[in-house]
């Protein structure tokens, strides 16, 4: 690899060191464990649960029933097993969170990289566009979009991802603005690298730190946004469970059957908390290098 000469590149911490620092951060460590545990549970639930997520028990229809041996978390008002549903709900909520964060990160990185690298007119146009979208209040805009079209997962992921990329774009842009002035870029260019190659193989890896942090935090906010949407009745429709719409169906019963609202609420809380701690840990681990 003739164009990566260590002397002309900014220092990047080796991966092993990064991982060690991360694990030393207590919050991040606990979060990783929790998230992995959760991911495992939601993946295996089809194999381990005796119930389907939309299996209604006609004897129990009418109101939620209490936790008991046959139903560890009780059932909802349609006689569906609450534990099964909350785990299946995790599949969707986590998937939507990850997918939306991915979309937002890709979009934001693309916009930010182009704006920061080329500068000038391209930067101006892209940033103006970013400002326009940023200037519109988020929840009303997402509500508006969701209310317009037929419900469906791809639409949901596109809406959330398509409206939360702006922060990443700004961060990536400022990274590119400063990084492109560094010597290693001139060196690579002198060796014949084209713009595309410069962006992707040279500058981008060095801008990775804030992107990763952004992406991690985006997962948390996407999960929150999805649950807010489902709670307001947009987003994923029953019987497909998500943590948000499970909370929605549980909320009329909060006085009479509070046990129904606790698991989805707690899981959203725990997941978002863990994601935030993880992101924080990542940021600290990466920043420690820059001291």
């Amino acid at each position: 690899m003739t164009d990566s000469q260590p002397a002309l590149q900014p220092l990047r911490p080796p991966r092993a060191l990064l991982l060690r620092r991360l694990v030393q951060h207590r919050g991040a460590r606990a979060s990783l464990i929790l998230l992995l545990l959760l991911a495992t549970l939601v993946t295996v639930v089809p194999m381990i649960s005796p119930y389907e997520y939309d299996e209604e028990d006609l004897n129990l229809i009418g109101q939620p029933s209490q936790p008991e041996r046959a139903h560890w978390f009780g059932t909802d008002e349609l006689g569906q097993d609450a534990l099964t549903r909350v785990l299946y709900g995790g599949r969707i909520s986590l998937a939507v969170g990850l997918a939306s964060a991915l979309v937002a990160t890709l979009l934001g990185t693309a916009v930010g990289a182009l704006a920061g690298f080329f500068g000038g007119l391209i930067d101006g146009v892209l940033m103006r566009f970013t400002d326009v979208v940023l200037s519109i209040p988020l929840l009303p805009l997402v509500l508006l979009l969701s209310g317009l079209f037929r419900p469906g997962l791809p639409l949901l992921v596109m809406s959330i991802g398509g409206l939360t990329w702006m922060g990443t774009a700004r961060v990536v842009r400022s990274q590119f603005l400063s990084l492109r002035e560094l010597e290693f870029v001139d060196a690579a260019r002198a060796l014949g690298a084209g713009n595309g190659r410069l962006i992707v193989r040279h500058i981008l890896p060095n801008a990775a730190a804030p992107i990763i942090v952004s992406a991690t935090l985006a997962v948390g906010s996407s999960i929150m946004l999805e649950s807010a949407l489902s709670f307001l009745g947009f987003g994923v429709q029953p019987p497909t469970p998500t943590w948000g719409n499970l909370l929605k169906t549980a909320s009329p019963w909060i006085g009479a059957a509070p046990w129904l609202a606790l698991p989805p609420g707690l899981l959203i809380f725990a997941t978002v908390l863990s994601v935030n701690f993880l992101g924080d840990g990542l940021r600290e681990a990466l920043e420690a290098e820059q001291q």
């Binding site: 103006r128 200037s135 209040p137 929840l139 009303p140 317009l148 959203i268 809380f269």
Partner: protein, 317 residues
């Protein structure tokens, strides 16, 4: 900071606002159905009457024409009439605004009052037990779903304990400061929680940054007390980036807190938005979204101005 800069920024806002309005106009009109659908199938409303109404609201024109007309009238301060209630859009919004501002303002003040000490303490005492506890609480605050918290609080404080009223703006016929505060308590706390958490994290980060700066070390070396250094130097400089965040949040409150308003039956802008969306009340929707966007844009500018005023080192080219 020059007048020239100010003027240029203000002028730059015009295309921004136009861009926003165009985007919103397009999105809103993508929705199937229009506000007059209620009457289309009513046999008592004749075709001629329907046409007349369409013309009166300008709904018969092609979309680009509608857009331009709308821009013109907005610029003149005429925001049109709500199709659902027949009243001027400005009146509809103005009626709900005080409640939103009251709730928003209170939660903002609450957030600032809590975030400031938390941010400072966690920065000063970083890596101690206090820091860990408060940091954990901050993260927790950002991670709790708003509606869940609202419902739990309602269950606890209003239904079980009976300390606070369940919902609403005021007790009808009564009123007075204590009554107002009692109704405000839960919604304001719910709204402010996430912001307290976010701001205290932000403040901590920028305080830590500031504390590491040379001028702070110089101050210490010169013999200033720790608290003095903390407040006089670090805090003042750490507040700068927070100004931006706070101002954006202030503007965001204009859009109303949809979920909080629904759970607590608070008569604010957020609910007006949802009702207008249901009824495809375009004039009100446009008015609301533009107001929210304009607030964000202006607050951005205000933040930059405050920034520049406070720190003379900041130059805009």
């Amino acid at each position: 900071m020059s007048l020239q800069f100010l003027l240029r920024r203000l002028l730059g806002m015009v295309p921004l606002l136009l861009g926003i309005s165009l985007l919103l106009f397009v999105i809103i009109h993508l929705a199937p159905g229009g506000p007059l659908d209620a009457y289309v199938d009513n046999p008592s409303v004749t075709k001629e009457a329907l046409e007349q109404i369409k013309v009166a609201y300008g709904l018969d024109q092609p979309l680009p024409v509608q857009y331009l007309k709308w821009v013109k009238s907005m610029a003149q301060g005429v925001w049109g009439y709500s199709i659902r209630s027949g009243r001027p859009v400005t009146q509809e919004i103005a009626e709900r605004l005080p409640a939103t501002l009251l709730l928003g303002g209170t939660s903002l003040a609450l957030s600032m009052a809590l975030a400031l000490p938390i941010g400072v303490v966690t920065a000063a005492l970083r890596r101690t037990a206090w820091d860990h506890v408060l940091t954990f609480l901050s993260f927790a605050g950002i991670s709790i779903p708003v509606f869940w918290l609202a419902l739990m609080m309602q269950l606890l404080f209003a239904i079980s304990l009976g300390w606070l009223p369940v919902a609403g703006y005021e007790t009808i016929g009564a009123g007075g400061l204590t009554d107002r505060l009692a109704h405000l308590a839960m919604p304001a706390v719910v709204l402010s929680l996430a912001t307290v958490a976010a701001w205290s994290r932000y403040l901590r980060a920028s305080m830590v940054d500031a504390l590491g700066q040379d001028y702070v070390r110089t101050a210490y070396a010169k013999g200033h007390s720790a608290t003095g250094v903390l407040i006089k130097h670090a805090l003042r400089n750490a507040l700068l980036p927070v100004v931006t965040v706070v101002s954006m949040e202030m503007a965001g409150l204009i859009s109303g807190a949809v979920i909080t308003e629904t759970v607590f039956a608070w008569p604010g802008i957020g609910r007006l938005f949802v009702e207008s969306m249901d009824g495809r009340d375009y004039p009100v929707l446009m008015g609301l979204m533009m107001m929210g966007s304009a607030a964000l844009v202006f607050s951005n500018l205000a933040a930059d101005i405050v920034y520049a005023l406070i720190d003379p080192r900041i130059r805009y080219d």
